[in-house]
Symmetry: C2
Subunit: 276 residues, 2 copies
């Protein structure tokens, strides 16, 4: 019999988008504890240089390690693009990201081998999806589109308004012109406007979201390493933000459909401070 | 070549729950026009006697017929339970309801042949799911649970709060005790708290929602009868309510992720008035 490991799983994102991944984790691993950190003070990550995002991700990785987590889940496509290999080198616990599971699912799903990507500018620029998709099937035509407006609209006052719908249509148009049959929604915020994408693309296009695949990856990793928590217990979760706890609570409740109770405000040390 | 039929499809529910079905219709039939009527003035239907719900449904059926719809979709499980056969007898256009597609899907999904139902009291009392499930597989053990609190909580101020979660857990408990592996969420409001149900039941229980199956049924009916609208055009939709248009707009936007623009207040004549 394997040892039980009561340590929580650490999850982070620039904002509330990663809650879509956390939700799938709660469904898959109801017996695990989770610590979720939203880096709202520095949201959005998408338009920032990769170098800067990598620094933020390393700071948060160090912070979560101090919280004694047993695995770090990077629930942010921009941070995964910018920092996954570096985090895996630096941290002693396993680090799981969100891009590989989606690339794999998209390659499985496409029939005409024209695959689109909607993501933030940072994720598109980093080119990780492109690499991973082509590593799995070199014959696929890959069409990435950067969507700078979507995260601010989704975290804003009117996520389901006409502006969001118009932006989604505009970003979709070049993919529709290329005749893609599969679109990767490569940002953890995008499932929050899933219905809008469903209407824009219709039934003939497969939409690929990372959340469920990623949750399975986390569960398998814990199981194979023998660091699961006790079966049958009910997990607890802590929510941390570098920004405004009240705003996080409101958005989290709306998007996660979970009564988010306490949200703690935290400050993440810079790499220099942490080294000092 | 078949004739094109520009008439809209009529859809009704006691409130905004039927918007989950409308959403799937918009994804499946982007070229069709829709008129959606929410009977907010008389919400909720669930706790009312079947006789009364039947009268409301007949009044709305007559109203929609006057709007020259080409099909009536009863996007409400209580109204389908109480009134579907009667509406089909009275109206000259086809009438489609939400129960048969779910019963069929549940019979397909179950492995241990223990199937649960969560629905309003009216739907449970009417016994239509029970009949339809057993008509398809007489060997299934069927376990219905009435959930009187859920619709008011979902249409209320805090749909994702602790009260909703607690209620969902309580209603789920007897089904979990029976060991069901499939649960029909037999009310069009319930997909609006889908994430809560997913967490409550976990991965091992199949949850059956009617919306997508029902949309397919409508699309096939229009196609086989040759009364589809022109391909390639963009459909328009009208929203009507017997209650407060502003409240409908707010709930519709949140739940449908659609910029609901105009909502018209309408009055539905009683059967006596209509006959006069």
């Amino acid at each position: 019999m394997l040892a039980m490991d009561p340590r929580p799983v650490g999850v982070f994102d620039s904002g509330v988008g990663g809650l879509t991944v956390l939700h799938e984790c709660l469904v898959t691993m109801p017996n695990e504890d989770f610590v979720y950190l939203g880096d709202h003070a520095r949201l959005p990550y998408g338009p920032r240089p990769l170098e800067e995002i990598r620094r933020f991700a390393r700071e948060i990785g160090a912070y979560l390690s101090q919280q004694d987590v047993k695995l770090v889940l990077v629930a942010c496509n921009a941070a995964t693009s910018a920092a996954l290999p570096r985090l895996q080198e630096e941290l002693s616990v396993p680090v799981v990201g969100v891009i590989a599971p989606e690339a794999h699912a998209a390659v499985q799903a496409t029939r005409n081998r024209h695959v689109g990507l909607l993501a933030t500018a940072a994720t598109v620029d980093a080119g990780r999806y492109d690499e991973l998709v082509h590593a799995l099937d070199a014959g696929i035509s890959f069409h990435p589109v950067a969507c700078p407006l979507l995260v601010p609209l989704i975290e804003g006052d009117d996520p389901y308004g006409e502006e969001t719908e118009r932006a989604a249509r505009e970003y979709a148009a070049p993919l529709q012109a290329k005749g893609v049959d599969t679109v990767i929604l490569g940002c953890t915020h995008y499932p929050l406007i899933r219905k809008i994408f469903e209407r824009v693309f219709g039934r003939d296009v497969s939409l690929v979201f990372s959340a469920e695949e990623t949750a399975r990856e986390v569960a398998e990793t814990l199981a194979r390493k023998g660091v699961e928590n006790e079966r049958g217990r009910e997990g607890v979760y802590r929510f941390l933000t570098t920004g405004d706890p009240a705003a996080f609570r409101e958005l989290g409740r709306r998007f996660l459909q979970l009564p988010v109770r306490e949200v703690e405000h935290v400050t993440v040390a810079t790499l220099e401070e942490a080294a000092a």
